[in-house]
Subunit: 137 residues, 2 copies
DNA sequence: CCGAGATAGTTAATATGTTAAGTAAAACTG
DNA sequence: CAGTTTTACTTAACATATTAACTATCTCGG
């Protein structure tokens, strides 16, 4: 519950920025993950953005219809598809990024750098502990 | 993202238990919040469970149809409705609780009590900082 | 080269999340 | 006390999450 509440509070800050551009947090995560790359497979994109594959299908469909992403064939593997930014979405990312950076800065102001790093470390430790333990199947 | 990933890892542990009983995490949060009380208003329930009111409508509808919760009129205020457990759901909570307690114990084993308390403190500090700051409307 | 099994994505069905708008009962105000 | 505002919920519309099943490729051992 503590994780849930805190994450909600954090995400809310991002949402007030992103909703001005009609973007959801998930869509923003995808844009950021694609930034600076020429094309990323959907499964890798999903993994980096912590979005499940079935959700990706719908999200990408909406993003493509808005011209935020485009598909490129992956000649090396006919199963997978490469997703990339468009000219417009590259510009959009550049426009939004400063405001997002400001939100991160606000978070760092609230906790201070040391506590923030401490928090990251604790979260990672817990995640790793849960990820490995008691799944010996 | 760190918050998201860690929360996902934690929730996953609860889900493997709850799904055996056909419960979602949200439904479990509601059951726990109602435990030991004679009736709670939907808005208070929503607040305690970190679930928005529109979601509550649907969740409660499903839970009621399964006999997990029941509605009682609030004679003090005709607008609100009191939600309470049923005989069956009280028994269900008792049956599930031990397994959930075990998950919490696992989390504490992973981090240790001190780090866990540290984590709680950091999360709360961040949440409070975000909750108050820069909303001077 | 072939067929079993592994991969990458999509589809489907159900449950929530998120915002905005609508409804009915209270509380407030002039 | 009528009119306005607030409060507690519900409805509606759209976006995701979750799990399982399905399709098209790929990989590999034989």
């Amino acid at each position: 519950m503590a994780l849930l509440r805190t994450r909600e509070a954090v995400v809310q800050r991002f949402r007030v920025v992103l909703s001005q551009y009609g973007l959801t947090e998930q869509q923003w995560r995808i844009l950021r993950a694609l930034e600076g790359r020429e094309g990323l497979e959907i499964s890798l994109l999903a993994e980096q953005c912590q979005i499940q594959l079935p959700s990706m299908t719908g999200i990408l469909k909406r993003m493509e219809s808005r011209g935020l992403t485009r598909r490129k064939a992956n000649h090396a593997d006919g199963r997978s598809i490469l997703i990339a930014l468009t000219v417009e979405s590259k510009a959009l990312v550049e426009r939004i990024k400063p405001q997002i950076v400001e939100v991160y800065a606000e978070i760092e102001r609230i906790l201070g750098r040391r506590k923030l790093e401490q928090l990251y470390a604790l979260l990672e430790e817990l995640e790793n502990g849960l990820g490995t333990a008691s799944e010996p199947c």
